[in-house]
Amino acid sequence: MIAAVQARPALRAALVASLVLVLEWSRALGAAQPGFTVVALLLGGIALAAVAIGWPADRLGLGRSRLGLRLIGGCALGAVLLLPAAVRSGTAPLLPAGLAMAAIAVSIGEELAFRGALYAALEDAGGAPLAVLGTTLLWTLAHALSHPPEFLPAVAAAGLLLALWRWACRDLVAPIVGHAIADLAL
């Protein structure tokens, strides 16, 4: 069964996409329940990260080569993601410790799932254009339950930016760092 799925990249990409969507929607629904928010975010982040298990680190865009540049790239992405909010509003609430941990877990989990495993699966199935556009589309769909419709263009644009970085630099460290910085700041 596993061998059959691995031999069919399109089938594998469809399975990974379905799994990631179900996990993200479950996380969003769980996080909306009073008293269950932090647990749902933490478990959701861990479950999303688990999607990347089995993929070689280099296929996920992970690695320690050029680590300094990757980390700086993460800072640059974080600055870009926060810039509109920083210009519009200077104040920011401080996240409670539990929620901050959850923010980090979700950031890492989402990047490993979307720009990591899903990107690699879609790239195998149809090349880089499918991987960039496919992860952006699924990323936007995944946020449809947790965000009102007027936020979805910004969600899609952020997904496109992070996916393009993943493609251009073959790197996932910077998207993880940028995503975590942005989620922690707001």
Binding site: Q33, T37, A76, P84, T91, L94, L99, A185, L186
Partner: protein, 227 residues
């Protein structure tokens, strides 16, 4: 070069898309929908008027049913247990929630939510407290308490309150009247960021830009020399 240009275009696209929605961000742990302010702060951007709400609560066998009344935008929800009302022979009890058109500014209190008037056609049973949940915006400091008044221009009383789901504050009540959430203006707002005069986000972005420039340039030069 083409990759760099594409990244630049994507960053510009994101800035435009994020700018069109307050607070200007794609994700994070802010409230799921923008807050509808009666008196929007300058940074709120496009603002819609807050909604009102109405509920008809059935009374069966002289006991009012468990029910929730809420505004259409979900910014205030009040939940009632079975028998929460002194029904007094009524078959239905009506509850109305109306946002005030004005923003009360009582001495010593800084409100961060709209003020709402809640009325009902029957009084509450003092033994069955109603749960009141107020949502607030991430554009304002977190409130410390819910306050209640019988007259919006009169005295506001602090109620025992606790945080609920993210960006909500919860209290209980046995009477109706006017409700709003805020904090004592004599003390710093709870959870408020005070470094840099409260301008945390611009400072974060500035630090990130400085890190990128100061650390990125030498790294790029070193890589160029090596290659």
């Amino acid at each position: 070069m083409r990759k760099l240009a594409l990244l630049g275009v994507a960053a510009a696209l994101y800035a435009g898309a994020a700018w069109s929605v307050a607070p200007g961000f794609y994700d994070g742990f802010g409230p799921p929908a923008p807050y509808n302010f009666t008196c929007p702060p300058p940074q709120a951007g496009a603002n819609q008027k807050p909604s009102s709400g109405h509920a008809d609560i059935p009374v069966t066998g002289g006991v009012s049913e468990a029910f929730s009344a809420f505004t259409d935008d979900g910014q205030i929800v009040i939940g009632f247990l079975p028998g929460a009302f002194l029904a007094g022979g009524k078959t239905t009890i009506t509850v109305d929630i109306t946002p005030l058109d004005t923003c009360p500014q009582p001495s010593g209190i800084r409100f961060v939510t709209n003020a709402y008037k809640i009325t009902a056609s029957a009084a509450l049973n003092a033994d069955k407290r109603a749960n009141l949940t107020l949502r607030y915006s991430n554009l304002e400091p977190d409130p410390a308490s819910v306050y209640q008044a019988t007259d919006p221009n009169g005295t506001w009383t602090e109620k025992s309150s606790q945080p609920g789901a993210p960006f909500t504050i919860v209290t209980t009540t046995t009477t109706f009247g006017y409700f709003a959430a805020g904090y004592a203006s004599s003390s710093p707002p709870p959870g408020a960021v005070t470094i840099g005069g409260g301008q945390l986000l611009p400072i974060i972005v500035a630090v990130l830009v400085v890190v990128v420039v100061l650390a990125g340039l030498p790294l790029a030069v070193m890589r160029r020399r090596r290659s």
